[in-house]
């Protein structure tokens, strides 16, 4: 376990150092790339709470990512451009949606849960596509990036630092929840539901809370993503994005604290490097993903740090 902690610290420092070095070398683009890693990692941290700890394989988390994005886009269109309130609105709206979706979906389990979360995400996807007020399929551009007190968010580095700090906050929240009573109950619900029931604890409220918290974190990431690309579109809500979030988690190592960060870094780098090498990049991306599932169980962190404590 010691070893995994050192790897986590190294990963966190690496993500911080990368954009600083890039700026020193005059390569501003890599700051943007690092920001993308941080934001996707935060979205995956959210999903990891439900999926990694709770074993709730949500195939519809793109819905919450997109809700966060649209919260940022719509508020910005109403001249509401301060980041912290936007994050709160994004998290609240996604939390309410998640409470509703979760209340219905958590009655099911296994594949049914995977598919019903997908169904809800598809509903929201089609709704947004055919809703003309905020651009529909064309999406909604943000005129300028939203603002944060005392920080010039238009510059790549300050914006990266905002995302980085939020990612660290998300990771801390994840670690705190995991190691507390709530996390213990949640993991018990995943591993042995009957035993939990025998102790007189109902798994449903625990799972619902995890699902809602998970959605709220992912929504904040969605709001940051909208600011990063200065654009929101229904493709943020597509089932491909739900799939990519799952891919990120598995790539990094399911249920691992820093799995989402390792996975997001790997995924973004592969997409970027393969994409500039060949137009058939998706073929090779597929091969790498396949190889990871078949031969590197435990993901990147599992590969370096060895078996998980509670795998």
């Amino acid at each position: 376990m010691e070893r995994e902690r050192w790897i986590n610290i190294a990963l966190a420092l690496l993500l911080l150092a990368a954009p600083l070095l890039a700026l020193a070398a005059g390569e501003a683009f890599y700051v943007t790339l690092a920001t993308r890693v941080a934001v996707l990692a935060l979205a995956a941290v959210g999903l990891n709470l439900a999926l990694g700890l709770g074993g709730l394989v949500s195939f519809g988390h793109a819905a919450f990512f997109g809700i966060g994005g649209y919260a940022a886009g719509i508020l910005a269109a109403q001249e509401m451009t301060a980041m912290p309130p936007i994050w709160i609105v994004a998290a609240l709206v996604a939390g309410i949606m998640a409470a509703f979706i979760g209340a219905v979906s958590l009655r099911t389990s296994g594949v049914y849960f995977i598919m019903i979360t997908l169904a809800f995400a598809q509903m929201i996807y089609y709704f947004v596509i055919s809703w003309p007020a905020y651009g529909g399929e064309d999406g909604l551009p943000l005129a300028v990036r939203n603002q944060f007190p005392f920080v010039n968010t238009l510059k790549p580095l300050p914006f990266f630092l905002i995302c980085y700090v939020l990612l660290l906050a998300g990771l801390l929240l994840f670690a705190w929840l995991r190691d507390g009573r709530f996390g213990a109950a949640l993991q018990a619900a995943r591993q042995n539901e009957t035993r939990l029931a025998a102790l007189g604890v109902s798994p449903f409220p625990i799972r619902l809370t995890a699902f809602v918290l998970s959605a709220m974190i992912t929504a904040v990431a969605g709001a940051l993503y909208a600011d990063l690309t200065r654009f929101v579109s229904p493709s943020m809500l597509s089932w491909h994005l739900s799939g990519e979030l799952i891919v990120i988690i598995i790539l990094g190592g399911t249920g691992r604290l820093f799995g989402p960060l390792a996975g997001a870094a790997l995924f973004v780098l592969m997409e970027f490097l393969l994409g500039s090498l060949t137009e058939r990049w998706q073929f090779f991306l597929g091969l790498v993903l396949l190889g990871t599932v078949l031969f590197a169980k435990g993901g990147l962190i599992g590969l370096i740090a060895g078996k998980a404590r509670n795998g």
């Binding site: 790339l33 529909g136 064309d138 690309t229 200065r230 500039s276």
Partner: protein
């Protein structure tokens, strides 16, 4: 001393001369769709563009091509990389309106030139127009407007219209209705990506319409045409050129024969530039060019012509050179309106069979010097 001065002077002159002939390297970034179901369009734009570049023999222009997989976020990321890391001065290549909306406002905001070889969303023609954004294809409504005009001229009184339920779809029907004077036999919005049109076709049959206009891009249009032909309905169909061009005609088959469609370009347009384009494209790629390929070809020739007149480093001069549009377009004449969108003729074509291959033939002109409806909203 005098000789050294003279030599220096001569060298200086040589440098200036070289400069005017665009000796400095120019980098163009092309973001286009090369994978997935929509790859055919991106491949055609790229091939047309590269053909023009090859013919020019211009060795100073480098083109970086990357696949956006039809995802807006990825297009934005590639644009950021090309601008910040590769230091391109010109961007082009995007096929879809939603990707253009994601990339263009930011790129032109950073003083990058963007030349659109395909998408022309109404916002970028109107309120959000920009001096560095040039559309070399059409504003999205144009081809639909031409079909609306044609339907009126052809004397149709009751046209049934349908399109997918998304902005380009509603724009298409709005564009059609703008110039169509008859009554509507019905109006339908279908689901984006829908592949079975039995329900819609049954409604068309029951509506008593005298004609059908549809805008269903890509695979949706292919599916609709096949199923429509199969249903045995004889009501004439018409649509924008997108649904009946070289990239999809092969897949629709004989079901498309005789369909009237609108386009700003056709393979049989009678001008020197077009003859050369069609012949060399066939020789190079072993297939007939599509309107997308013609747009890519025109885009490249526009850039090359402007580079011949001004350096891309001198943004104002280069912009003026682009705006002059002093190049041999395969459409014959071509000029930009005040909002940097084309003012051009739009033709009505008919799908015919030539030597066993389905293709289009011009049968008339719907609009002369047509301009888009949003130019007035553009404050530039």
């Amino acid at each position: 001393m005098k000789r050294i001065l003279a030599a220096a002077l001569m060298m200086g002159c040589a440098l200036i001369a070289a400069n005017a002939a665009t000796a400095e390297p120019v980098k163009i970034g092309m973001i286009t769709t090369l994978s997935g179901g929509g790859a055919g369009l991106g491949v055609d734009v790229r091939d047309g563009f590269m053909l023009a570049l090859k013919q020019s023999g211009n060795k100073d222009v480098t083109v970086l091509v990357e696949d956006d997989a039809q995802k807006p976020e990825l297009a934005v990321q590639i644009a950021d990389k090309m601008i910040q890391s590769d230091k391109v001065q010109i961007l082009t290549g995007i096929i879809w309106s939603n990707l253009a909306m994601a990339v263009v406002p930011n790129a032109v905001g950073q003083d990058i030139f963007y030349l659109s070889p395909n998408a022309g969303p109404s916002a970028l023609a109107g309120a959000k127009c920009n001096k560095n954004y040039f559309n070399v294809a059409w504003q999205n409504d144009n081809l639909h407007e031409a079909m609306g005009n044609y339907a009126t001229e052809a004397g149709y009184k009751k046209t049934f219209i349908l399109a997918p339920n998304y902005p380009a779809g509603t724009d298409a029907l709005t564009g059609f209705k703008r110039f169509y004077k008859g009554e509507l036999g019905g109006e339908l919005f279908t689901k984006l990506g829908q592949t079975d049109y039995a329900a819609e076709i049954a409604q068309i049959r029951a509506s008593g319409a005298d004609s059908v206009f549809f805008f269903l891009p890509g695979g949706m249009g292919i599916a609709f045409m096949k199923q429509y032909a199969q249903s045995g309905i004889k009501i004439p169909v018409m649509g924008p050129g997108f649904s009946f061009d070289q990239d999809v005609l092969g897949a629709i088959g004989d079901a498309a024969l005789g369909v009237k469609n609108s386009s700003q370009w056709s393979k049989d347009l009678d001008n020197e530039a077009n003859k050369k384009f069609v012949e060399t494209f066939k020789a190079e790629y072993k297939r007939l060019p599509s309107l997308y390929a013609s747009q890519g070809y025109d885009t490249a020739n526009l850039v090359l012509a402007a580079l011949g007149k001004a350096s891309v480093m001198d943004a104002d001069a280069f912009r003026a050179a682009l705006k002059a549009a002093d190049f041999q377009s395969v459409r014959g004449k071509f000029k930009f309106g005040p909002n940097n969108h084309p003012i051009q003729d739009i033709y009505v074509r008919e799908v015919v069979k030539e030597e066993g291959t389905l293709t289009n033939k011009i049968i008339g002109v719907s609009f002369k010097d047509h301009q888009d409806a949003y130019a007035a909203e553009c404050k530039m």
